[in-house]
Symmetry: C2
Amino acid sequence: MKVVVLAGGVGGARLAFGFYRALAPEDLTIVVNTGDDFEHLGLRISPDVDTVTYTLAGIANRETGWGIAGDSFEALAALERVGGPAWFRLGDRDLATHLQRTALLSQGLRLTRVTARICESLGVRARVLPMTDDSVATKVVTADGEIDFQDYFVRQRCEPIVRSIRFDGMETAHPTPEVTEALSAADGVVIAPSNPFVSVEPILALPQVRGLLATKPSLAVSPIVGGRAIKGPAAKMMGELGLDVSPVGIARRYAGLIGGFVMDEQDAPLGSEVGSLGLEVAVAQTVMRSDEEREALARVCLALLGRVAPRNAPAPR
Amino acid sequence: MKVVVLAGGVGGARLAFGFYRALAPEDLTIVVNTGDDFEHLGLRISPDVDTVTYTLAGIANRETGWGIAGDSFEALAALERVGGPAWFRLGDRDLATHLQRTALLSQGLRLTRVTARICESLGVRARVLPMTDDSVATKVVTADGEIDFQDYFVRQRCEPIVRSIRFDGMETAHPTPEVTEALSAADGVVIAPSNPFVSVEPILALPQVRGLLATKPSLAVSPIVGGRAIKGPAAKMMGELGLDVSPVGIARRYAGLIGGFVMDEQDAPLGSEVGSLGLEVAVAQTVMRSDEEREALARVCLALLGRVAPRNAPAPR
């Protein structure tokens, strides 16, 4: 069964790792959000692509959710000493990834090829695909004006009140040929338990993606458990955007696009409400604390994919 | 006594440190070769400027002659793992200097200002001036064609036979206003025991520099001791260029420009030959193994500067 996972950073990476254990690597493609990508110190940084890559390579830092386990911060400390910015926490080994990415991009390689090379050198055998090779930048519209995503997320620690999210450059961006081919060839598509607003919706906003997704058995895993986000500002954002901070709110956000929905045992009483949206529901342990729990959740997803029909039949050729 | 030192990397930095101990910092300016500067991984690297800066800051690596003492190489090792180049040995803390320099340059600051900021943050109180803010690139013409200096120096370990040296961009380069002002205001100018061909002559090749130098009491310290270079390929280059590999060969190279010459005790028998070139000679311990020996050599230079006349009287105003 060929599966495409749409993923942002930490939550998406964890579930992607579960699929990496559950499937043959050639059957797994992870399409990763690049709306958080930015330039810092002249370096091109792709936080979500790196988190997924590091997680599949088995070198991700499990405590922080970003960077490489056991990384040192000598360069960052020295950078601060010479008056440079230290708000974005660059580990020494992590820095090497950004240096290499930036160097290869400046040689004219597409981000997709650069990512494939880095994955290969780190021994990652599944396909990690940036959603686009075009420049898309997530902007957070706050009460005090619009700010860059990394500014909101890292420097301001998600403190500003979010009024809306905008994807700068989306009007001219396209999914890569690799992404549309992977979606076309997929037997099922899984929306990972990533932040819907800033991790999943940039992918869904690209031309063709929603259309291709609707022709496949698909499901989403709720990133909201017991009224809270497993990681990151998803719950805070939902509240600020006036949405129901629950799996029901998530399910409504994706309804019409997906056929299945996986929610946590803690939220089992809400299952019938999600089901009333026309979704096939699976209740499972969704908080992935170990590799085994990651794999188990992937297997729940695979089983559910086998039971759901596409929202729309494929267009006749 | 206001002194300007013309310097390349290691040898120049050592003597500059001696002057830093012997003079009030406001009386010392080091004009540093930038012909070795290059771009690597998108970073702007200024090897000689950094060696001088790190040496004056007391953080230079004394064993290697480049980089920062006790630096780690986590980023470089990781870079190699993701397929990046490892031939140029970038320490983690050293990398921070290049990141900050590159970032400030891309903000539009001149290299001179960038260097001043980095010096200030590292507590260096003397003035370290890049010879130019323009792009000058030293090219080594070898039997097998022309190569970049860093390629020759680092990657090929100075193995190719040198036929000549060329400074790409020199025809349009200018010394900075800070450099010409420092030379104009100097009571004496010292050519450090750096490689004449690739460290000192790029500085001398800039417009105005030779003219200004000739109006000042000036001297050179021989980088050749006992027929060998204290550090680097100067002796090998001299031989390949058909020059006398001795302090006499060095003195001939600078004759007509300087008034004094400092050579090592080992070469004392050659003193009269150097003197016959019209140079005031001081024989001293020039191999600087300790901070005390650096300072002692600086004091020998200061004493000699007091005894030599400018080669040319200042032009009438």
